[in-house]
């Protein structure tokens, strides 16, 4: 038994040591991207209209088109790396990908391990209910008496936990965490949850697609601006991306994209 304990501790110590060796500093990330001629960008392509795949597997959406233009202006090829939303920040942190665009909101917690670009769009939160829902939701806090669904790892999940669950208004067992918003919306329609909190824009898209749902409240609660996720303290890349975002805003490019993807 003792030997096993020693063996286990050795394995753990070894993996910690190896983890500590990670992240060797390169001269300049932007330079190496340009030299390779490719920027690897992560996204979670299951979040229309920001990012999704069409039926032939091509990535489409607001973020997709925006990032394609950014890569074009950086004069590099764009290589998409699709992974679940939860894994994206860790992948940027570990240098598995150069950046990530996936409708990320700024949070202080996220900012500690990665950096954000300037905002390229400002999003709102929405509460969606199934048709036939009677209880009024006038203030956002009113949702506390219902079964509330939300996507794991999002700012909405943080908002619900920090403001409603923390002060006891929303019992923890009434907060339902989902891997994906569309799954949650289907559960909402099926009556397993009563209110769904999500980004306003995808909520609108899903309400239209699924039917039998309606948005009863929208406003800026948790979300606000959305940004591109970049490696921590990668000032050069951040500046390059920010400059391009500013250009695109000046030219009205982003506004046109928003009309194309978000117009009702």
């Amino acid at each position: 038994m003792k030997r096993i304990v020693v063996f286990v501790s050795l394995v753990i110590a070894l993996s910690l040591l190896m983890a500590g060796c990670g992240g060797a500093a390169t001269a300049s990330h932007l330079e190496s991207i340009k030299q390779a001629g490719v920027i690897k960008v992560g996204t979670s392509a299951d979040y229309p209209p920001f990012e999704s795949v069409d039926s032939s597997g091509n990535k489409v959406g607001f973020d997709i088109e925006l990032m394609t233009e950014i890569a074009r202006r950086l004069d590099v090829k764009l290589e998409w790396v699709d992974m679940p939303f939860d894994s994206l920040i860790a992948a940027v942190q570990e240098g598995k990908i150069d950046a990530s665009i996936s409708a990320f909101n700024y949070t202080e917690e996220r900012d500690q391990t990665i950096d954000f670009s300037d905002a390229y769009y400002t999003s709102e939160d929405a509460f969606t209910v199934a048709e036939g829902f009677t209880g009024p939701i006038i203030n956002p806090e009113d949702v506390a008496v219902y079964k509330v669904g939300v996507q794991t790892g999002t700012t909405q999940a943080d908002w619900l936990t920090d403001t409603l669950v923390a002060d006891g208004a929303l019992p923890e067992e009434n907060l339902f965490l989902y891997d994906r918003v569309d799954q949650a919306m289907l559960d909402l329609k099926n009556g397993r949850v009563e209110v769904m909190m999500s980004d306003y824009v995808p909520a609108q898209a899903l309400v239209k697609q699924i039917g039998g749902l309606e948005i009863v409240y929208h406003g800026v609660l948790s979300s606000g601006p959305i940004n591109i996720v970049l490696p921590n303290e990668d000032v050069e890349l951040q500046q390059a991306v920010n400059t391009i975002i500013k250009q695109m805003q000046g030219e009205g490019f982003i506004e046109q994209l928003a009309v194309k993807y978000f117009a009702e």
């Binding site: 032939s56 790396v81 679940p84 799954q183």
Partner: protein, 212 residues
Amino acid sequence: MGNFFSYIVQGAAITLAVTLIALPFGLALGLLMALVHTYGGKFLNRIAAAYSLLLRGVPPIVLLFILYFVLSGTVNLSPFWAGSFSLGIVSSAYQMEILRGALLAVGGGQMTAARAIGMSRLQSIQHIILPQALRLAIPPWSNEVSIVLKDSSLVYALGVPEILRRAQQLSATTQQPFLAYGTAALIYFVLVFASNRALDHLSERTKLPTHS
């Protein structure tokens, strides 16, 4: 709609590739550990036991994340290889137990007899024990094959676009989860069914008359 199916079916090639890397890798490692556990000395025996205990005690997905995110500083593996190797490592612990069972089923008498006619330990294992043990291991091993096939769906978490990840994406795009996941389920079933049938057949063909 045709595209819809072909997009998921293309994922089956990746699922198969992950399985075909993980299984033999796990088999080689598992066989080595099973031999070490059965015929190694006291110390090696303990190490092999700890290996099995540790790996069978950790959910495959946790090991997957450790290999991909924690060890990525030293070994730069792509999601595909990291996923395939971690599945192989997890599977090796289970394959080790399967093979160990088979080795024990062959029995110590065979080893004694082989040594008595002048074979070395290694020769006995190679020519007497293994040919019998591997045959005995096929039925329980076919179980492990289906488990690895199905567990290959875990690599979606690293962004490998296999069957499950593609079904998720199409479910999000089309809002038809039943169709998307149903298609995925059907493909998994066909793969598992076909591989089990093939292994049943192999087991019948290779059965020794002494083992009925």
